[in-house]
């Protein structure tokens, strides 16, 4: 098990390096020179060159990139060009807000999708099934920024119940979490339904019913537990993606998360900050997926047995 985890972590390194190259390269292609933006307007050509050198932006692309990667391998994401602070520090400032939103939205998503998906599966091909599937489809199809704005219109402007933006405690989390959660609930409901359907026809469920277990217990203990693995996979990638910050939801609610930080970094041509943020995101995503794989072992004794061999 430990060997497997170590191997997975080692395999992340080339992926992270490749991601860093793609982003660094794209940022280099972008028109607009950050050095010219940072330099004072009356700076001479020599001063500008000096500044470029100080920022480590002189020389051809590959030289600069390798300098960057050299630091990266030592765990140093460098200094943000536009804000003159370490990238890691800027990222960590924003990360708690993103985690809050990610966890909040996941709770909303689970709260919607489990009852809906289970109801759909247990009443297969009934009106309940059909309407939950259409609801799920609408959830997937709705642009999250639109839903967010509708919620703001209703709960912030009309009813004045909840704040329309910013991160100021629990109340301000409700609308963004519902917005992002509703979107995630769409695909999650479909997964819950289909994996429950797979399990529901198994013989051991018939056995459980035959020996007199109540229907509630059958669904909760026997069916749901066995249906959990594919659901966990989707939950993992949903959480991983949410940790990268949902750019549009953060934009709608002025949420101080990493998604908006990254977008502003790209727009400001701050290549170290943009590359650093996206590397951190990829790392989070991969770690979450790894955590899910490990979680399988806890959920399913069969998988645990495979590791111990």
């Amino acid at each position: 098990m430990i060997r497997y985890v170590l191997k997975r972590i080692l395999m992340m390194i080339p992926v992270l390096l490749a991601v860093s190259f793609v982003v660094y390269f794209l940022m280099d292609l972008a028109p607009g020179d950050i050095v010219m933006q940072l330099a004072p307007t009356d700076a001479t050509a020599e001063q500008i060159e000096q500044l470029r050198k100080d920022l480590g932006l002189d020389g051809p692309l590959l030289t600069r990139y390798f300098r960057y990667v050299g630091n990266l391998l030592k765990g140093d994401l460098g200094q943000s060009l536009s804000q003159n602070r370490p990238v890691m520090e800027l990222f960590m400032d924003r990360f708690p807000a993103t985690v809050k939103l990610a966890v909040g939205s996941l709770i909303v998503a689970i709260g919607i999708s489990f009852p809906l998906g289970i109801a759909a599966a247990t009443h297969h091909r009934s009106w309940l099934d059909g309407s939950s599937m259409v609801t799920a489809m609408i959830g997937v199809s709705m642009p999250s920024f639109w839903l967010g704005l509708l919620l703001i219109m209703l709960f912030a402007s009309k009813l004045n119940l909840l704040p329309s933006g910013g991160d100021s405690g629990f109340l301000s989390l409700i609308l963004p979490a519902i917005t992002l959660g509703a979107n995630q609930a769409g695909s999650l409901t479909r997964t819950v339904r289909s994996s429950m359907l797979d399990v529901i026809r198994q013989d051991y469920l018939r056995t459980a019913r035959a020996k007199g277990v109540s229907e509630k217990q059958v669904i909760r203990k026997h069916a749901l537990k066995n249906a959990l693995i594919p659901i966990l996979t989707v939950l993992g990638s949903t959480l991983g993606n949410a940790l990268g910050g949902s750019v549009t939801v953060e934009a709608v609610f002025a949420w101080p998360g990493v998604g908006r930080l990254t977008v502003s970094a790209i727009n400001n041509r701050d290549m170290t900050l943009a590359t650093g943020c996206i590397i951190m995101f990829t790392l989070m995503l991969n770690l979450t997926l790894l955590a899910v794989d490990i979680a399988y072992a806890f959920v399913d004794p069969r998988i645990r047995a495979r590791y111990s061999k």
């Binding site: 992926v15 794209l26 993606n241 996206i278």
Partner: protein, 301 residues
């Protein structure tokens, strides 16, 4: 005796009837039974007709971007069904005209990602080994970057225009097609008819695209319809963030972002463009879902 011949005649006719029904007729027959999928199909057809006709019916300069400040912020009425925006432009006209942006971006982007992704996926699945490994690793890198952020970075690198937007979204979704195509190729690769084709002297290229691909199309077709839906959604997100189709084009996401400033007093400026996006995306998703069931009846059991 007489009875017997009529019986046989009947069954031969029956056989012919079955023989005539091609795979696609069978798929269509299954698809027709699915009411929600048919609703999706009708909406998609209606949208395409609207997009094409509005392009020729309206004059871009006079009807779409012309500003009439004395008419600004008129609430929805008989004259202006969806009201007018902050520049006095008719929102209904702009939304109708905007259909062509979302549809063309969605469809061209999917064409790009499908062509590239499917080719790579078929090559990966067919050759296996090192080739497959390299292609899959590259896909993994692009999957690791969130699609909206990758889209923004590409738009930043190559400038803001509708063509770049199509390519940006097209590139973002390449790995999805690549993985789908590879997974679809794997079970077909070992079939006997592939071996037969090879013995008959068909080259690698011919086997891949004439024999393997047509037999692994179903999941790719489903991915295409769903892909148009997610492409439209991503495009509107980018436009909403101000990085998609440049203003003053009536792209729905951009209209929504313009309307957002007036959300307190003129909510309709936000409601209608969003509704248009949702209906379009929903229609493609419903269609894709129906296609999946129609192409693979086993899944429905």
């Amino acid at each position: 005796m007489d009875n017997n011949t009529t019986k046989r005649k009947y069954s031969v006719e029956e056989l012919k009837k079955y023989k005539k029904r091609s795979m696609w007729a069978e798929v269509w027959r299954n698809f027709k039974k699915n009411r929600t999928a048919m609703v999706g199909l009708f909406i998609v057809i209606a949208l395409v007709i609207i997009a094409v006709f509005s392009h020729f019916y309206y004059d871009y300069a006079a009807d779409i971007v012309h500003q009439e400040l004395k008419d600004r912020f008129q609430k929805p009425s008989a004259e202006h069904w969806f009201g007018t925006d902050s520049f006095g432009r008719d929102v209904f006209t702009r939304i109708v005209y905007g259909a062509q942006y979302s549809l063309s971006v969605g469809i061209v982007a999917v064409a790009i990602s499908c062509a590239l992704g499917t080719t790579l996926g078929v090559i990966a699945g067919f050759y296996g080994g090192v080739t497959e490994n390299i292609i899959l690793r590259v896909c993994e890198v692009f999957v690791g970057i969130p699609s909206v952020l990758l889209g923004i970075a590409i738009m930043a690198a190559f400038g803001q225009s509708i063509v770049v937007l199509m390519f940006a979204i097209g590139l973002v979704y390449v790995p999805m097609y690549c993985r789908t195509a590879r997974a679809a190729v794997l079970p077909v690769r070992g079939e006997e008819y592939i071996e037969a084709a090879r013995i008959a002297g068909v080259g690698d290229f011919g086997i891949m695209f004439k024999h393997i691909l047509p037999n692994s199309l179903s999941p790719i077709i489903v991915q295409i319809t769903m892909g148009v839906a997610s492409g439209i959604l991503t495009a509107s997100s980018l436009s909403f963030l101000g990085l998609g189709v440049p203003l003053p084009s009536p792209e729905w996401g951009a209209m929504l972002s313009e309307g957002r400033a007036y959300i307190r007093d003129y909510g309709y400026l936000t409601i209608f463009p969003g509704l248009a996006i949702m209906i379009t995306v929903l229609a493609f998703n419903l269609m894709g879902d129906g296609l999946r069931d129609a192409l693979d009846p086993k899944l429905k059991q």
